[in-house]
């Protein structure tokens, strides 16, 4: 499967607040923890060898689960049949919490659910669909049925 590699590498170079050297362990049985520069950009987690400019790899942060492993470590498990798990070791409990939080919130699907929630709530509170002013109220990606389970009473006017 082809992909726009140059453009993705360019994306990995964009400024990001969530960029730090962490311990990272791959999913394979023999994998050991290595220090990597880990960087979160949009819904991708890039990881670099600490002295290199081009990333080693990119993980799409969709359909995955973030778990606390111990006080300073967390893991990301991708929910395909293989259930591949990547482990990350942070330098502090706080850093661990920040990374877990950021990764969860970086997911496009998570943001979509938020959007749909706010859209519905704003409509309920004000009687207006906030997406109408932007001319995007009928875009498929923003529809109530797309993300959030709602009771029939709340969806009737959207």
């Amino acid at each position: 499967m082809r992909f726009n590699e140059k453009e993705l590498v360019f994306l990995s170079r964009q400024p990001s607040e969530m960029a730090a050297e962490l311990g990272m362990k791959g999913h394979k049985k023999g994998d050991v923890i290595k220090r990597r520069l880990v960087k979160l950009v949009v819904n991708f987690l890039f990881y670099f060898r600490t002295d290199e400019e081009e990333p080693m790899g990119a993980l799409l942060l969709e359909q995955c689960r973030v778990d606390r492993e111990d006080r300073q470590s967390f893991s990301i498990t991708f929910l395909d049949e293989a259930e591949r798990k990547y482990l990350f070791e942070c330098d502090s409990e706080e850093q661990c919490r920040e990374w877990m939080d950021s990764i969860i919130k970086a997911s496009y699907e998570f943001m979509r659910k938020n959007l749909i929630f706010y859209r519905t709530e704003i409509h309920r509170l004000t009687g207006k669909d906030p997406l109408e002013q932007y001319g995007i109220s009928d875009e498929t990606r923003f529809q109530v049925s797309n993300g959030l389970q709602m009771t029939s009473g709340e969806t009737s006017s959207l």
Partner: protein
């Protein structure tokens, strides 16, 4: 760089709905067009030969690109222009004006950055709407759907912004308006600067000039301006399509059924 493709293919095939799919013509380097089946999900544009195919030919990650009508490439043509040295432009053509318009709109609203700004804007509107509600109507909280969590979580949709996570005032409209006053957009709002907006701490100082990958405007602009620009593009496309419809004889349409 290794892209963990199984994650992408799993995401594509999982139960969440796709945002758009259909046939488009993709221009090869040799300037001929090939019909491909495209599937848009989140900020990813997948393509394959036919809808039923299990084999994916490729994926285009839709971050940092401008979506442009490109009639110079032919009828119903449009392109994804990745801005940056050595980066590609993907050229497409739709079978008719309606398909073109529909894809333009879907692609314009597909990026993570766009969604991020939209969520921020709606968060602000939600807070304002809540404040306007009478404080006495406390029974409303019990009817809120299960997704709702402690408010600090939902006040911080921006990515990785640690100061914003702790400070719920980050997303007040006054901050956004202040940033807008500093801004002077010289380039297309679809370029990288827009994307940077949501990784910058709103309450913190803007990074040094040299850190931004592109020259030009302030990282954060008022969302409605961004929408106006997109809206103009879409309106333009639509107006021209309508004019074309009035003028033209019946064109030969490719039967996609």
């Amino acid at each position: 760089m290794k892209l963990h493709k199984k994650i992408l293919t799993h995401y594509l095939s999982c139960t969440s709905p796709v945002d758009k799919e259909g046939y488009l013509y993709k221009k090869k380097r040799t300037a001929t067009y090939q019909r491909r089946w495209f599937v848009l999900k989140a900020n990813l544009l997948f393509y394959q030969e036919r809808p039923a195919d299990r084999h994916l030919l490729g994926v285009i990650v839709l971050e940092g690109c401008a979506v442009r009508r490109s009639e110079c490439d032919g009828q119903f043509a449009f392109s994804l222009v990745f801005e940056g040295e050595g980066l590609k432009t993907y050229r497409f053509a739709a079978a008719d004006g309606q398909t073109q318009e529909s894809w333009l709109k879907a692609l314009l609203t597909a990026s993570h950055c766009y969604l991020s700004l939209l969520v921020r804007d709606l968060t602000r509107q939600y807070e304002e709407a809540q404040q306007l509600e009478c404080s006495g109507e406390s029974h409303h909280s019990s009817s809120v759907p299960a997704l709702r969590q402690p408010s600090s979580t939902f006040l911080c949709p921006a990515q990785g912004s640690s100061t914003a996570v702790r400070d719920s005032r980050s997303f007040s409209s006054s901050n956004i308006l202040q940033a807008q006053n500093r801004a002077a957009a010289k380039k297309s709002p679809k370029l990288w600067l827009r994307r940077n907006a949501h990784v910058t701490p709103i309450n913190g100082p803007a990074p040094q000039y040299g850190e931004w990958p592109l020259v030009g405007s302030d990282p954060l602009e008022e969302f409605s301006k961004l929408h106006d620009y997109y809206g103009q593009e879409v309106k333009k496309v639509r107006a021209e399509w309508l004019r074309g419809r009035e003028r033209a004889e019946v064109a030969e349409l490719i039967d996609l059924s």
